[in-house]
C-alpha cells in the first residue's frame, strides 16, 4: 500500500461521503482518509426535520464505521483541520496531528448565515444544520412556547415545521415580500403563504429585524424596522448558507468575491492537487446548495483521479418537495426572466392549487414552472424542460385538470439523453444499455445503474421505462403476485376458472411453490369465492382468510372485533333499530353510525360473536360483509317517496341493488350509492358504482372513490331503464372482479386499463369482447348461491369451534380492558391499564364471561 495514492478528504457530509464511495469504486487501491468535523460520520441532512418526527440520529446515518472499515477507508471524527501546507502537501489538525496527501479533497460544505442583528448571540438564538443543532433546538423548545424562524426560504419553512412538530407556536419572518422568493413567483408564494397559515404557522413578510431584546411575555422580542415587534422564546436563523471556505483562504487558493472555492469543470481548485466539491465550491460564479449537484461534483472529481473525462457542467436547480404537507415544485426559469418568455397559469382557489408554466416566445419549449398545492405534473414538466421536448399544440393542457385529455409523456417519448435519476445522474440511455447488457428486471436495473436509489423521486418513471423497454424486447414483465406464484392475479383468476380449481392447495400444487403467504392466500380465497362462492369458513378455505374474514367481523386495535349488520339502502325499521340497541346494551358494545348508512358495534370479544349474531339473525338481520373485500353498502337518499325533488325511488332501487350484489367477493371493497335526483344527496359520484335518477330513468357512473385518493366517477351511460342498469352493473362488476389486481379499487383499475373509459364502454355496452353473456351468467351464479355467512357459521358446532379465545380454557383475554367515555365503553389505553392493574378506581367494563346473564 505504500506507493498507493494518498487521498485526504476533508468533510464527511453527504457529498464528502458520496465522493468516498465513488472514489473507492474508481480506485480500489487508493489510500483514503476521511476527516469528519462532527462527532459522527455522514448522515442524511436532507431529511433532518424527520428528527422531530421521531427519527433518531442512527436512523439518519448514511454510513457506519463498519462500512468504512469494509471499504478500507480510514476515518477520524471530531477532526478539525487547522491549516493546509501546500508545499509539503500536508494537512495539520487542531490536535497537532498531520497527514500527508497526494490529492486533497475539500468537501467542507457550508455554514448557516446569521444576519448581523444585535442580540443574535443569545442562548436561545439557534441555527439549523447539524444533528447537534437539532438537539439544541429540542432542548430549547422544551422550555419555550413560541418559536420564530428568521428566513422564509426552503430551509426556513422546513425549520418552521420542526418547531411546529416540537409543539411550539411557530412564526416565520421573511425580509422579502413573499415566501420562497428564489423558487416561486408572486402567485405561488401567495398561495403557499395561505396554505401554511392555514396549518397554524404565522407568516410575516417584508420584515427586517433590527434587534433582538428581552421580551415582556416571552423570552425575547424581535424589533422590526417598520416599528412593529414580535415576542418569542426561541429564534432560529435560516437566512441562507455561506460556503465554508476558510481553509482555502488560509491556503491561498482562489475564492470568489462573496465566498466559495473557485473550481474548474473537473472540480479542481487553483491548485490542481486540491479539489473542492459540494456547497463549498464555486463553479462559474455559482454555488449549488442542493444535494444532487453536489453528488455530480463528487462523481466528476472521483472520476478525474481515475483519468475519467466527465465534466461538471452546471446543474438543474429544480426542486419538488413537501413543506408542512404542502406540495411545492419549481422548475428552471420560474420567474419568466428569459427574454420573450410567455406564461400560462391555472389557479383553483377552492382547492388551493396554483400552477404556472413559462414557455419560450415561439411556445415550443418549456423554460420553467411553478406548482403549489399539487405537484403531480412536476415529473412530466421537468422532462419537457430538461430535454427540450417540443410542447404540445396547447401547452396549457399540461397543467389543466381535465385528466382524460392531458397528454401523458410516456417513457417512450423521452430522448436517450433524458436524465431519469438526477441523484445518480442516470440517463435513459444508461438504462437502455443496462437492459441491453442483460438486466431484465427492475431490481437488476436499479442495482447496476443505481437509478432510483437516491431520493426515489424517479421510481415511477424508472419502472415505467424498464417495463416499456422490456416489453419492446419481447420480455414479459413480471407481475408475479408473490414468491409463491409466478402469475398475476388476473392470470390466477383465469387458471382457477379454466381448470376448475376449487382449493388453494390444488392451485399451489399445480402452479405454485412453498406454503403460500398473507399476500397470495387471501387473494386466492377471493378468486375462489368469486368463481365458486363456497362458504369462506369451509375447512379448505378458513386458513386462507384474513382475520376479518375468518371471524366474520372487523378486528380492532386491541384484538376485539366490530360487528356490522346489513342495512340495505340504509332503510331500517324501528323494531330492528331497537334490537341493535338491545344487543349493544347487553354485550356492552360501543355503537357508531357509519358513513355507509348503517351501525357499527365495537368491542365484541371473539367468544361473544356467535351469540351476538344469533340474536341479530333471530331479529332478521344478515351479515353486512364489512369484514370482506366485497360489496359493502349501497347508500341512498330518501328519493321520490318523500322528497319534494326526487324523480325516482332511490331507496327501493338501492335496496334491490344491495340485495343483488351482497356477498360478492372482489379484488377490493366495493361501495355504491343511488341518488333520487340530480341534487345527488347520496354522493353517488364518489362511489365505485353510482346511480343517479333522471326523469327518464337512471344515469350510471363508475369508478369513483373517496378516501385517500378521491376520484370523481365517470358518467358511463345515460337514461337507462332499471333492467339495463342492472345488466350493465353485472357486467361491469364481473369484468372488474376478473381483471383487476389484488387490492386494486375500481378507480385505480380504470386508470390502468389500456384505452380507459372508452375501452370499458366498448366492452360493457358494445360487447366488443363478446363477453357480456358470460359475465352476466357468472354474476347470476354468484347471486344465486348467496348465503348469509353468519347464518351458516352458527348452524354448525364445527364452525363455532373457532370462536373462542383459548382452545383449552374458558377464559377471556385479560389484556382486553375497557373504560367509560361519553356514556360508552372504549378500549383502555396502556396507561389506563397500568392504573387498573394498580387498582386505582376508574369505571371498567366487567371482564367476566357472564355477560349472557347480565
Amino acid at each position: 500500500m505504500n506507493d498507493a495514492i494518498k487521498i485526504v478528504v476533508v468533510g464527511n457530509g453527504m457529498v464528502g461521503h458520496h465522493y468516498v464511495e465513488q472514489l473507492r469504486q474508481h480506485c480500489p487501491a487508493a489510500d483514503i482518509t476521511v476527516l469528519s468535523g462532527e462527532p459522527r460520520l455522514a448522515y442524511d441532512r436532507v431529511h433532518l426535520s424527520e428528527f422531530f418526527a421521531g427519527k433518531t440520529a442512527d436512523d439518519l446515518m448514511l454510513t457506519s464505521e463498519a462500512h468504512y472499515e469494509s471499504l478500507g477507508v480510514r476515518f477520524l471524527c471530531n477532526a478539525w483541520v487547522e491549516n493546509i501546507d501546500r508545499q509539503s502537501r500536508q494537512v495539520w489538525l487542531t490536535d497537532g496531528r498531520h497527514l500527508v496527501y497526494d490529492k486533497l479533497v475539500l468537501a467542507t460544505g457550508s455554514y448557516p448565515f446569521v444576519p448581523p442583528i444585535p442580540g443574535n448571540d443569545q442562548p436561545h438564538c439557534l441555527v439549523y444544520r447539524t444533528i447537534e443543532d437539532l438537539e439544541s433546538i429540542q432542548a430549547s423548545a422544551a422550555q419555550s412556547r413560541v418559536g420564530v424562524v428568521i428566513g422564509g426560504g426552503l430551509l426556513g419553512l422546513e425549520a418552521a415545521n420542526a418547531l411546529k412538530q416540537a409543539g411550539l407556536e411557530a412564526h416565520v419572518v421573511e425580509f422579502a415580500p413573499q415566501l420562497m422568493a428564489v423558487q416561486l413567483d408572486e402567485g405561488g408564494g401567495k398561495l403557499l403563504r395561505e396554505k401554511i397559515e392555514a396549518l397554524g404557522v404565522r407568516v410575516h413578510t417584508g420584515k427586517a429585524t433590527e434587534r433582538i431584546v428581552a421580551g415582556n411575555q416571552s423570552r425575547y422580542r424581535l424589533e422590526f424596522k417598520d416599528g412593529e415587534a414580535l415576542e418569542t422564546d426561541l429564534v432560529l436563523f435560516s437566512a441562507g448558507i455561506r460556503p465554508q471556505d476558510s481553509l482555502a483562504r488560509q491556503a491561498d487558493l482562489a475564492v470568489g468575491e462573496r465566498g466559495g472555492i473557485v473550481v474548474n469543470d473537473r472540480c479542481q481548485t487553483s491548485d490542481p492537487d486540491i479539489y473542492a466539491i459540494g456547497e463549498c465550491a464555486l463553479w462559474q460564479g455559482r454555488i449549488f446548495g442542493l444535494v444532487a449537484p453536489g453528488y455530480q461534483m463528487a462523481r466528476v472529481a472521483a472520476g478525474h483521479l481515475a483519468a475519467g473525462d466527465e465534466s461538471f457542467t452546471g446543474a438543474d436547480m429544480s426542486t419538488k418537495l413537501k413543506l408542512l404537507g404542502v406540495e411545492v415544485g419549481s422548475i428552471g426559469d420560474a420567474h419568466g426572466r428569459t427574454e420573450g418568455a410567455l406564461s400560462y397559469q391555472y389557479q383553483n382557489q377552492p382547492l388551493g392549487i396554483y400552477k404556472k408554466i413559462v414557455v419560450d416566445a415561439k411556445q415550443k419549449r418549456l423554460l420553467g414552472a411553478v406548482l403549489v398545492g399539487d405537484s403531480s405534473d412536476y415529473d412530466t414538466l421537468l422532462q419537457y424542460a430538461l430535454n427540450g421536448i417540443e410542447l404540445p399544440k396547447y401547452p396549457e393542457s399540461l397543467i389543466l385538470p381535465s385528466s382524460s385529455e392531458k397528454p401523458g409523456l410516456g417513457a417512450d417519448a423521452l430522448p436517450m439523453t433524458a436524465t431519469v435519476c438526477s441523484c445518480h445522474n442516470v440517463s435513459k440511455g444508461d438504462i437502455v444499455s443496462a437492459i441491453d447488457e442483460g438486466a431484465c428486471e427492475l431490481a437488476a436495473v436499479k442495482s447496476c445503474t443505481r437509478a432510483s436509489t437516491g431520493c426515489g423521486g424517479c421510481s415511477a418513471l424508472l419502472k415505467n421505462m424498464v417495463d416499456t423497454e422490456l416489453a419492446k424486447r419481447g420480455v414479459e414483465v413480471k407481475k408475479d403476485i408473490c414468491e409463491h406464484f409466478a402469475f398475476s392475479r388476473q392470470e390466477l383468476f383465469h387458471l382457477v376458472q379454466v381448470e376448475k380449481i376449487r382449493t388453494f392447495d390444488e392451485l399451489l400444487n399445480q402452479h405454485g411453490q412453498g406454503l403460500g403467504c398473507d399476500i397470495c392466500k387471501p387473494a386466492v380465497a377471493s378468486i375462489l369465492a368469486s368463481n365458486w362462492n363456497e362458504f369462506v369458513l369451509a375447512r379448505a378455505h378458513v386458513g386462507l382468510q384474513d382475520t376479518n374474514d375468518t371471524f366474520l367481523a372487523n378486528m380492532q386495535k386491541d384484538g376485539t372485533y366490530s360487528v356490522v349488520p346489513r342495512v340495505p339502502g340504509g332503510e331500517i325499521t324501528p323494531d330492528k333499530l331497537i334490537v341493535i340497541g338491545q344487543v349493544a346494551k347487553k354485550y356492552r358494545l360501543y355503537t357508531k353510525v357509519t358513513g355507509g348508512q348503517r351501525i357499527d358495534l365495537f368491542g365484541a370479544r371473539v367468544e361473544h360473536l356467535p351469540e351476538i349474531w344469533r340474536e341479530l339473525i333471530d331479529a332478521g338481520f344478515e351479515t353486512g360483509h364489512a369484514y370482506g373485500k366485497s360489496l359493502r353498502t349501497v347508500k341512498s337518499c330518501v328519493g321520490s317517496t318523500w322528497c319534494r325533488y326526487g324523480v325516482q325511488d332511490s331507496v327501493g332501487t338501492a335496496i334491490d341493488i344491495e340485495n343483488r350484489y351482497k356477498g360478492l367477493r372482489s379484488p377490493h371493497k366495493i361501495k355504491m350509492a343511488v341518488s333520487g335526483c340530480t341534487r345527488e344527496c347520496a354522493e353517488a359520484q364518489s362511489k365505485d358504482v353510482g346511480v343517479i335518477a333522471t326523469d327518464k330513468g337512471w344515469n350510471l357512473y363508475v369508478c369513483g372513490n373517496g378516501g385517500m385518493k378521491p376520484r370523481h366517477a365517470d358518467l358511463f351511460a345515460q337514461d337507462l331503464d332499471t333492467d339495463t342498469l342492472v345488466r350493465y352493473i353485472d357486467r361491469f362488476l364481473m369484468f372488474y372482479v376478473r381483471t383487476a389486481d389484488r387490492l386494486q379499487r375500481t378507480s385505480v383499475w380504470l386508470e390502468s386499463l389500456d384505452g380507459g373509459l372508452d375501452y370499458l364502454k366498448e366492452v360493457i355496452i358494445g360487447d366488443s369482447l363478446g363477453l357480456a353473456g358470460e359475465l352476466e351468467a357468472q354474476m347470476q351464479k354468484v347471486v344465486g348461491t348467496y348465503q348469509c355467512e353468519w347464518k351458516t357459521a352458527i348452524s354448525s358446532e364445527e364452525n363455532l369451534k373457532r370462536f373462542r379465545q383459548f382452545v383449552n380454557a374458558d377464559k377471556p383475554d385479560a389484556n382486553i380492558q375497557f373504560v367509560e367515555e361519553r356514556g360508552q365503553w372504549r378500549p383502555a389505553t396502556a396507561e389506563e391499564k397500568n392504573r387498573l392493574a394498580n387498582s386505582q378506581a376508574i369505571p371498567v367494563r366487567q371482564l367476566t364471561n357472564d355477560t349472557q346473564s347480565a
Binding site: 414468491e483 409463491h484 412453498g514 406454503l515 403460500g516 403467504c517 398473507d518 397470495c520 392466500k521 387471501p522 375447512r539 378458513v542 386458513g543 386462507l544 382468510q545 384474513d546 382475520t547 376479518n548 375468518t550 371471524f551 378486528m555 386495535k557 386491541d558 384484538g559 369451534k801 373457532r802 379465545q805 383459548f806 382452545v807 383449552n808 380454557a809 377464559k811 383475554d813 389484556n815 396502556a830
Partner: protein
C-alpha cells in the same frame, strides 16, 4: 424439560393457528399461538410462539395468516401485517423485534409445549 399437554391435535386447524392457555402459577398464565403447517411432502409440523404481538400490542398472533417466506415458516400479524418466523420468532420486517418461541411436540395425540423459551435453551447449550 417439563411438557404440558395443551390440547388434542384434532383441535388444531391445518395451515392455521389457534390460541392456547398455558397456566404458569395459580391464576396466571401465558397465551400461546399454536400452528400446524402441512408441508409439501404431506408431512406436518407444529409451532408454538407467544400470542402477544409486540408491534400491535395485542394478543392476536394466533389469528394471523401462516405461510412461508423463502422457505421459512412465518405468520403475518393480523393487525399490521409484520411477519414473524415460527422457527426463531424473529420479525422479518423489523430486526429489532422478536417474539418468544417454545418447544412443542405431538405426544400420544396431545399437543405438548414446554414452558421454556427456545432462545434461552439455545443460550444454555
Amino acid at each position: 424439560m417439563q411438557w404440558n399437554s395443551l390440547c388434542k391435535i384434532s383441535d388444531l386447524i391445518d395451515n392455521s393457528g389457534v390460541c392456547a392457555y398455558l397456566e404458569e402459577e395459580e391464576g396466571t398464565g401465558r397465551q400461546l399461538a399454536l400452528f400446524k403447517l402441512v408441508l409439501a411432502d404431506g408431512g406436518q409440523k407444529l409451532f408454538a410462539i407467544d400470542n402477544w404481538d409486540p408491534i400491535g400490542q395485542a394478543n392476536v398472533l394466533s389469528r394471523g395468516i401462516a405461510g412461508s417466506i423463502q422457505g421459512e415458516p412465518v405468520v403475518a400479524s393480523p393487525l399490521y401485517k409484520q411477519r414473524f418466523s415460527l422457527v426463531t420468532g424473529r420479525c422479518l420486517d423489523d430486526d429489532s423485534v422478536r417474539v418468544p418461541v417454545y418447544p412443542v411436540r405431538l405426544h400420544e395425540g396431545a399437543v405438548q409445549v414446554a414452558n421454556v423459551q427456545l432462545a434461552e435453551l439455545e443460550e444454555a447449550c
